[in-house]
């Protein structure tokens, strides 16, 4: 699983980076930088929550 953030929607709230700090860090403007590694199955719930809690609904989950 991977997460993809729509940069046109993201307003840099940072919720995703709090939940998924292993995969996402914030740049100096507080916008998320998503790492290249896939999200492990054990973190699927966290990923789902991050997607649901994003205030801008900018996160998509891609299965590949």
């Amino acid at each position: 699983m991977r997460l993809v953030i729509d940069p046109t929607r993201c307003h840099g709230h940072g919720t995703c980076a709090q939940l998924l700090d292993e995969y996402i860090r914030l740049d100096k403007w507080h916008y998320p930088i998503v790492g290249k590694q896939k999200v492990s199955a054990g973190h699927a719930d966290l990923l789902m929550r991050a997607s649901q809690l994003c205030p801008e609904l900018a996160i998509s989950i891609v299965d590949d």
Partner: protein
């Protein structure tokens, strides 16, 4: 389509230039490979009537299958003329093979959002039938239910409407093309912005996990290409790939439109015939002794003529690619010895930073920082810090936008500090090679920027 006469791609005799209507008024250069077509305010003086158009270019081929069209377009090496330079046959194939229950949509992009470009407006004003031929053929091959022409210029709009009326009056049965007005703004011509506008949304880029070839306008497979590309398609599918690429006699084969601007005696739209070199083009444009050329427009790359860099190379896709250049949006910007190319680039960078749609954080916050860094380098205020900031900020912006805008700016910035490393070194000691009035020559008319203000 225009009356059917043949099931094969035929090659009638007749003029085959895009700027046909102007041929009698403008003679080619002594080498015969560069044609000055129009100055930078092309007027619709010689709109070609349909009868003359058909007499000149010949009728559209009928009985053309998708397979034949793909093979011909592939063999012709025709690439998109809007900026990305993607092989047109691949684009067509992607839409033709997209798995979708919706019928495909065809869009010709004539928004010409690069403010220095005039070639698309010229083409639409003077040869709208050739563009409409291309749209008609592609829409027919795809079985599209809707086709659009996205246009900004008012007079181009009028010319296109007149041409479509003529086609209807002549009883040509083809898919009706809907003309959609493109709003102002640099990003309004970006692929996804066009798709959004056609679906009656705002002309702003949008993010999608899908390519528009599978899911574009309202989810339909969408083929979007520049208007010149459609005109080229109408020529290639008439005369065949061999003729387009290499056949015919001498200069009698495929051409390309370019807008040439900047420090030249004769800025304007030029039609390049095969083999035309940069040197010939510069001579024809009365460029004198230029310092540098920005090839491809604002997202382009520089050729520094201050080094022993020959301009005697043919202007074709392959040769440009070997030199890490590309036609981009078909614009060449010439800088003389009066201005500094680094200052020019800083002014353009600032203009482009102001053209961000403001949707994506890295673009919205990063481009102004990149622009400030470029100004420090250009104006010798703090070159060290400017270079340091570029190295720090570029990785935070690159590949993080929802469209090509930030990456295009980064390409320009990289090319500038790369091609003019010596100039940047001079700036470190507070010097600059510019020796003239410092009037910026590559900013769009009417644009004011702080870095530009210094040079104005």
């Amino acid at each position: 389509m225009i009356e059917s006469v043949s099931a094969s791609i035929m090659a009638p005799t007749g003029p085959r230039r895009l700027s046909l209507g102007w041929e009698s008024a403008h003679r080619p250069s002594p080498s015969g490979r560069v044609v000055f077509v129009s100055d930078l305010s092309p007027r619709p003086r010689l709109v070609m009537p349909l009868a003359e158009h058909v007499a000149g270019y010949g009728r559209l081929p009928s009985g053309l299958t998708m397979r034949m069209a793909l093979d011909t377009l592939r063999a012709s090496n025709l690439t998109g003329r809007g900026g990305a330079g993607f092989p047109f046959w691949k684009k067509l194939q992607a839409v033709a093979t997209a798995e979708s229950r919706k019928s495909p949509v065809v869009i010709a992009n004539g928004s010409e959002s690069e403010p220095l470009s005039k070639k698309d407006t010229l083409l639409l004003k003077n040869n709208p039938h050739l563009v409409l031929d291309g749209i008609s053929m592609i829409a027919g091959l795809l079985g599209a239910k809707s086709a659009y022409l996205y246009v900004k210029d008012r007079e181009a709009h009028t010319a296109v409407n007149a041409a479509m009326r003529e086609r209807r009056e002549r009883g040509i049965s083809e898919l009706r093309v809907t003309v959609v007005e493109a709003p102002a703004g640099y990003v309004s011509g970006q692929e996804t912005a066009v798709v959004r506008r056609i679906a009656k949304g705002p002309a702003l880029p949008q993010f999608s996990l899908d390519r528009i070839s599978t899911s574009g306008v309202r989810g339909a497979p969408t083929l979007l290409s520049n208007v010149e590309t459609f005109a080229q398609v109408a020529i290639v599918l008439r005369f065949g790939a061999d003729w387009y690429r290499q056949g015919g006699q001498g200069s009698d084969r495929g051409t390309r439109l370019l807008t040439l601007v900047g420090a030249v005696g004769r800025p304007g739209v030029y039609e390049l015939l095969p083999g035309a070199t940069l040197a010939e083009l510069l001579r024809e444009a009365d460029a004198g002794d230029p310092r540098a050329v920005l090839v491809g427009g604002y997202f382009g790359r520089w050729v520094d003529l201050g080094t022993p860099n020959s301009t005697n190379f043919p202007m074709d896709d392959q040769t440009l690619a070997e030199r890490k250049l590309s036609f981009g949006a078909g614009i060449l910007g010439v800088v003389g010895h009066d201005t500094c190319p680094v200052v020019e680039a800083a002014a353009i960078t600032e203009y482009l930073a102001g053209q961000s749609a403001g949707q994506c954080g890295p673009c919205m916050h990063g481009l102004p920082e990149i622009s400030t860094a470029m100004a420090r380098i250009a104006l010798s205020s703090d070159v060290e810090r400017g270079m340091h900031d570029l190295r720090a900020v570029i990785p935070l912006v690159e590949h993080r936008g929802g469209c090509q805008h930030p990456d295009g700016v980064i390409q320009l910035v990289r090319s500038t500090v790369g091609a003019f490393a010596e100039e940047v070194k001079l700036h470190r000691s507070g010097r600059c090679t510019a020796r003239g009035s410092h009037t910026s020559v590559l900013l769009p008319p009417g644009a004011t920027v702080a870095a530009g203000a210094v040079v104005r």
